[in-house]
Amino acid sequence: MSDATSEHERLPRRPRIISRFICQELLFDYYCDRLDEERKSAVQTYIKSHPEIQDEIEQIKTATDYCQKLSLTRVTPNYLSQLKEAKTLPQKVRQNLNWRKWPESLRWTFEALTVSVLIAVIAIATPWQKLEVLQILQQKSYEIFVSKNKTDPAEKIDLPKVVDAKVETNEVAIETVKEEEKNKIIDSSQKTLVVAADKPEAVKLVKPSKPVEVALVKKPMGRLYRFMMAAKNSESVSTKTIEKIRQLGGAKAGQVDLGWKKKNPDGYYFHFEMPKANYNELVKTLGGYGPVRIYDNPHERVMPEGQIRIILWIEEKAPEVRQNIKVESAIENSTPQPKGDSESDANTENSETLTPSSISDEATKEAPAE
């Protein structure tokens, strides 16, 4: 065994030979005594043979001593304390934001400013308009007044959704009703019924014994009076008529002036309005100039209350010969002819005699346009 162990022992190695480069690289470790024995001896061997390497060792030594001297530099305690008090940005901000440490005046100012800003933000952000609308809606909402008839039990009636509906009891006129109600049968009672805007189902009404049917409601129509007359010296009559109309408070109701002279057919055209109270006087005056034919027709143009609208046509009277022939022919025939051609009637509702169609048509053409 001892022979085997000795065989495995390390054979003495030849001393390592290093190059200049390796030696230079190992110099610092050699100086610090960090090399193993083999390398250490190799470096020592090389240094002995190359004295210039020793200078490098001296340089390392000199530098090390120099650095050792410089490492004795110390920082003053004042500077250390400043470093210790160095705070990060969040720490600085947190310290400054600690308002409890602020001066009292500054603190009060900040609090007052904060409160005022909050109030301003609330005032601006609050939807005041919506609140106002809600109030208005409440004000505008209609309440349903129910009066129970003591004899008849109350019955529930479904009403359509109505806005601005008003039904008067047993009255002829219903002022404004929506389209949906025109054909509805509405129970009328002795009292006024006002319908709620948004509560159609919560209505209780009392059915009277005689329900009144309110059928179609027609749009109110006005009246138009048409005066047709033939007079001698129609120009003079026209002038006088103008004065009379003005005297009676009349004024033109169309685009043309009073007594507008028209040709083909020739005549004088009046389109005016006047107080209704003076109607009879006007008819009387015109009747003095000749027979007047009066037609009263409904018209869509509605005049204010107390006013009437008249279209007057004055044409030159035809020669008497023609009229005499007509009279003679009438007598010969001895057939009673209906009067009305030469008489004026203040309250004539419809036309009495044949109407000169051309004249009335032309007068009608102007009226709708006005």
């Binding site: 690289e25 110099l27 610092f28 470790d29 960090r34 490098e56 001296e58 340089q59 390392i60 030594k61 000199t62 530098a63 090390t64 001593d65 120099y66 650095c67 050792q68 001297k69 410089l70 490492s71 004795l72 530099t73 110390r74 920082v75 003053t76 004042n78 500077y79 250390l80 400043q82 470093l83 210790k84 160095a86 705070k87 990060t88 940005l89």
Partner: protein, 150 residues
């Protein structure tokens, strides 16, 4: 929390690295703030040193870009310099040396960090750390001259 010794090392590093008082103070304050933010320094000395080295290197790298050319100098207001100290060779060493070797010399020789801490902080093999230190010291020695006049 940083100890006074660590604070001193941080301050000295920037003084020796920048050789400009204002810049060194700003960098030191930034380093201290960053260390406070981290709050995770290990109790192990080697680990703490490695963290210090890493952070100081990072901040030095950022701040050196803004450094004006030329060296302003150091005053004795915040430093207690050794008596009869000669800063000339050090100024020359900063100019002539490679930055990596320069900083390694500061960490190793001025601040006294172990090679292991420096290797961990710089994320380098220990051999590289020793190599840089040796080269830096050789250069410093050649600048200084044969006689150490400190």
């Amino acid at each position: 929390m940083l100890t006074d010794k660590e604070l001193e090392k941080i301050s000295l590093f920037y003084y020796f690295a920048f050789l400009e008082e204002k810049k060194a103070q700003q960098a030191a304050i930034k380093t201290v703030r960053q260390m406070q933010v981290l709050r995770t320094l290990s109790e192990d000395t080697e680990s703490r040193n490695a963290s210090l080295i890493k952070i100081t290197l990072d901040i030095f790298t950022k701040e050196k870009i803004r450094q004006k050319s030329g060296i302003v100098g150091l005053t004795s207001e915040f430093l207690n310099l050794p008596p009869n100290s000669n800063w000339g060779p050090w100024f020359e060493f900063k100019k002539a040396s490679n930055e990596r070797e320069f900083l390694t010399v500061i960490y190793s020789q001025i601040l006294g960090f172990s090679d292991q801490s420096i290797a961990r902080g710089l994320d380098l093999p220990m051999g590289t750390v020793r190599y840089r230190t040796g080269r830096g010291l050789k250069l410093l020695g050649s600048i200084h001259g044969p006689v150490a006049n400190v």
